[in-house]
Symmetry: C2
Subunit: 196 residues, 2 copies
């Protein structure tokens, strides 16, 4: 996996971050299949071998790029750290705060398109990411039976709103304020937290 | 719009239905942009001019093909005719009954892929269809404020479950029975019917 002449730059956290940013841009703009390692390397201004050094395969680069997409990971940790009460509202707020940021939205739209476009490896990477977040991090925070299924139904609702608001842009959901959507969605998310 | 030599077959409801079936197959298999009028005509065994005679443009053919997709339209009319009580459960049951039919699912997956794939005319046709169903047929059946927005949020939740169960196939939502999903989803859909 290591590459000739990459010893120096391999030590730089900036280079790794730059590759990740370039990967997110390329995956968002072109989808998983058409975003080549060569194009990502060119975008980041590094040799392609350096991507292999840091991330191994394109699958793993993709998985890493979505895992750290925008500030979603850190925001989620903060939300989950506060305990289960009002978790529904905080999850909805976090979800929409990320989606309302233009850069994150571009990246997330690319992921959603890859995931629905039948691009199998992208679906696999996205599935692994979502599964780990939902089953390992969110499900343990909720009570009662079928908690894994309910964690997935919470996510389904949020993803569905992203589909109708940001992808299909159906009215009136596309134009109302995020606050109005959160006020309506949060109690339904919370109901999945609380009861089977 | 009328075509040479099509007078005889133009009178046959079978021909129109055959064109629609072929259109659904081609849109599902290839997406909106790549499904050509010529390929649809060949699939239906008719002259392309006959498609123009019946449906005009490709946009209108697509809109008609999704409006009549499977038995969704008739099922929805039946569900809405029964009044608002327990509407959430009946909508959820109808939605998943259609999705669980293999032929309908193939068609719906094609639509969802087109709608998320940035194929603008497909998104437009799908948006017109969904908007007419949600705002003109479902919203009037629910009570209170923001009924149009709540109708869209109900649809968002159902579409989101279709995404995680049928498109992304996340576990455990992909493998549990439809009955188990309906038992959990229906009360949340019903809560949108009943309260703002």
């Amino acid at each position: 996996m290591s590459s000739r002449g990459a010893g120096r730059r391999a030590g730089s956290p900036d280079t790794r971050a730059e590759i990740l940013e370039a990967a997110r841009r390329q995956f968002a703009a072109n989808g998983y299949d058409r975003a080549t390692m060569r194009a990502i390397a060119a975008d980041a201004g590094v040799d392609p071998s350096l991507i292999h050094h840091y991330f191994g395969t394109k699958d793993r680069l993709f998985a890493t790029s979505i895992d750290l997409s925008g500030s979603a990971g850190e925001a989620l940790d903060a939300v989950l750290g506060e305990g289960g009460e009002d978790l529904g509202r905080r999850l909805a707020e976090t979800f929409f705060t990320v989606w309302e940021q233009e850069e994150a939205r571009t990246s997330l739209l690319g992921i959603l398109r890859s995931a629905t476009g039948g691009e199998d490896r992208a679906v696999l990477a996205f599935r692994q990411f979502l599964t780990s977040v939902l089953l390992e991090r969110i499900a343990p925070k909720i009570e009662g039976e079928s908690r894994q299924l309910r964690a997935l139904l919470m996510a389904s609702h949020l993803v569905g709103v992203a589909m109708t608001r940001y992808v299909m842009r159906l009215e009136p959901i596309a134009s109302v304020s995020v606050a109005e959507i959160i006020d309506l969605v949060a109690p339904r998310i919370q109901s999945y937290v609380e009861a089977a």
